[in-house]
Symmetry: C2
Subunit: 453 residues, 2 copies
């Protein structure tokens, strides 16, 4: 008997699940029909690459596409673009799909929800043409077209609203295109949801070195359309002028369908799959529409990242295909770039830990990415937090020059294994003058932290 | 009662121990007199930095000195340069020290042996002035002087004998100075003691891209002095011409004193301290004169590296000072550079494991250091080995472009924690297009390995 899997959303999570389900089912001699429904005309592309495409680091949108629609179809997936699911009927095991040709019901045995995230759009930004996102391939196309406009419409000044990962990446991309860029964030420093203020200040400096003007502690309260531009009014009473606005105040799980179908949502309004990625009988979910199990916080958390979408989608696919897999969770690792500054984080901030009543201490050290006497030596700041008593490492943040950022993986591996700060201080990390001081900055930080815990 | 610590050898291990012993003793209110005896005129400098100084990456030898003799003295250490210990009398608790002024006996309560390593010099190289090392500050001075000679004596062609870490670094440094460089190694590929041949071949390519001529499978059997140069005769019958020879066929523990004093040596002819760095009652040792506990091999191994010298020296110092510390051992992590190629390794090679009768499998993957569509994307090859049945990761090797090498630390952390290859494949490593493909190459390799174990 052929089972039918319907996948809603044909990006990282959905297509990882679809491909893996087919592969595993075939291996087990099971017949599986896979229908993937995608509301846009795009499939399996790197959202994380959009800012770099806008910046001009990547020349063609094609490069961002991991697998084309034709490739998916050649693999046996019935991929339907321009197909929006408007209703999910769990009792009848069917979805209603709207296309240009009309609506139809499609039944399923298994359902995979990979609807992703949607940008948060405040009221003041709704319906203003000069306000754009920087999330989808279409967003990227619109920005590239705008920035390259030769009819005098290319913006001289772009306002980026929001200082998180996307805001920082957007600001970098505009600045690299030579556009005057202003980033406003209501927090004291950029990346306040990810970094301590002292580390956020280093990100701000990275942006400023690129020529970005960073205004902190300011909330945009409204926009006013003016001759040849717009003006952003802020709650502080200040006004900022721009020709275009990049809205980057965050995303949230796209779960309207799931909510309407009665599927339970978590504290962060995302679907909350178990570790097999199951959300209900024969219903699976993965990616940015889901919360992710955080191994350090020991709770579900909203961590919309392509890495988790890929991994969890694959886990879902394995289980749908009749195999057995579990998603091991996240420790909250993330990395980006702000000009010459590499910025990375993992685990919890001391402030989060203290809110939870955990007894923690933190230290920050400044060192160099290579031996101090080498031309490769760039400054690096490492900040780590650990639990008093147990000595357990709880999180880390890194900002620095070339070679700084990916050092976060050492701390991520330590969190993954539940190591103490002292364990990391003793660990056998690679040393050679072009790559590290004798004691790696990450080890130095953990050594100093271990002494206080 | 003031105890007296005598330290033999004032480099990384000895001076780490000396400084730490003083610090810990002071904290505990104990009186400790520290006499450090150093046969050369140099103290606490970075041996690892010598090739980069010769290459011209580092301008001044002063930059390589971590702490000067005066700084050590200001910290309360009675540091005596030009003081060679000629005898060690453990029964009488005294050493005999020879200086320009004569010989004297110096008694001790505690003895710290930090005599380091000595280059292996084959018979054919003894007493040939054109044959030089690249290990000490004096070696570096000699090379810098020779390379900068304006009297026509600057070598046009240098022969590097030995394809290990030092040989590769030496070849890089000469090539960067514009000298025609020939590296000969008796192995099939460079770095045969550290890398599988397939990875060694990538190192060779890195050197060749720098202009180094690499001749493999050749053992030098003799040198002949000729007009304005020398000729190296090889056992294969070939002859190679050069104006100077850099000998880099390896080092061994400098343990003549310790051996004469009756201290037991290990399989690799190094001192074998316990995990407190104690080798006998009141006698301690650390650094390149010692073997190091390898956590993967579960045996002592000769791993002469500055990192271990620093850490183990500090452990010795803590214990000498009356505190308590243990050295956690090594997993065999090392890194270097061969031109544009970053080269790193950790754990065991499959061949070592098979010699031990371990049931292992290995995989090699090629990927990119950044998302494939980014300008930062350089090739990277990751090779990993794991144990069948348990799935445990046993080792890894990486060769690749910018950002490749320090990824070894992820595998080193996994070995440190005894993780399986599957654990690493699932781990939460940092992703963003300028820094990594969605799946980090290290995770891809471990995923592929896990599937075979």
């Amino acid at each position: 008997m052929t089972r039918r899997l319907v996948v809603i959303g044909a990006d990282a999570a959905g297509m990882s699940a679809a491909s893996q389900a087919l592969r595993v089912a075939a291996k087990r001699g099971q017949e599986l029909e896979v229908i993937a429904l995608e509301s846009t005309d795009h499939v399996s592309y790197s959202q994380c690459g959009i800012p770099y495409w806008v910046a001009g680091d990547v020349e063609s949108a094609d490069a961002l596409v991991a697998r084309t629609a034709d490739q998916h179809r050649a693999n046996g997936i019935d991929l339907r673009l321009g197909s929006t699911v408007t209703e999910l009927d769990l009792d009848a095991r069917a979805v209603v799909v709207r296309t240009d040709a009309g609506s139809e019901r499609v039944g399923f045995d298994e359902l995979m929800i990979g609807t992703g995230a949607e940008p948060i759009v405040p009221d003041w930004a709704r319906g203003v043409p000069a306000v754009m996102q920087l999330k989808t391939l279409d967003d990227g196309t619109a920005w590239r077209r705008l920035l390259a406009a030769t009819d005098g419409k290319a913006p001289e000044r772009v306002l980026v609203v929001g200082g998180g990962f996307i805001g920082v990446e957007a600001a970098e991309s505009f600045a690299k295109r030579g556009v005057r860029t202003l980033l406003v964030t209501r927090s004291d420093e950029p990346m306040a949801h990810s970094l301590d203020p002292a580390m956020g200040a280093l990100v701000r400096r990275g942006l400023e070195d690129l020529g970005v003007e960073v205004v902190t502690g300011v909330e945009v309260s409204g926009l006013e359309q003016r001759d040849g531009g717009i003006s952003a009014a802020c709650v502080s009473g200040v006004e900022h002028q721009a020709d275009a606005v990049a809205l980057a105040i965050g995303v949230r799980p796209r779960v309207a369908l799931a909510r309407a179908a009665g599927l339970p949502l978590g504290e962060h309004d995302g679907l909350v799959p178990d570790d097999t990625q199951r959300v209900a009988d024969g219903v699976w979910a993965a990616g940015d529409c889901c919360e992710v199990w955080d191994r350090v916080l020991e709770q579900h958390w909203y961590t919309p990242l392509g890495t988790h979408a890929n991994k969890a989608g694959k886990v879902a696919g394995t289980n749908i295909g009749g195999g057995s897999a579990r998603f091991a969770g996240s420790v909250g690792t993330a990395i980006t770039r702000a000009g010459a500054a590499e910025v990375a984080r993992t685990g919890v901030l001391a402030s989060w830990a203290r809110e939870r009543g955990w007894d923690v201490d933190e230290v920050s050290v400044e060192s160099t990415t290579a031996a101090g006497y080498m031309p490769e030596a760039d400054p690096i700041t490492v900040r780590v937090v650990g639990e008093r008593g147990t000595g357990r490492l709880l999180g880390g943040q890194i900002v620095g020059g070339r070679g700084a950022g990916k050092r976060i993986d050492v701390l991520a591996m330590a969190l993954w294994s539940g190591l103490t700060a002292a364990d990391v201080a003793e660990a056998d990390l690679a040393y050679c003058p072009p790559f590290s001081p004798t004691w790696d900055p990450v080890a130095i930080a953990c050594k100093k932290l271990a002494a206080t815990l």
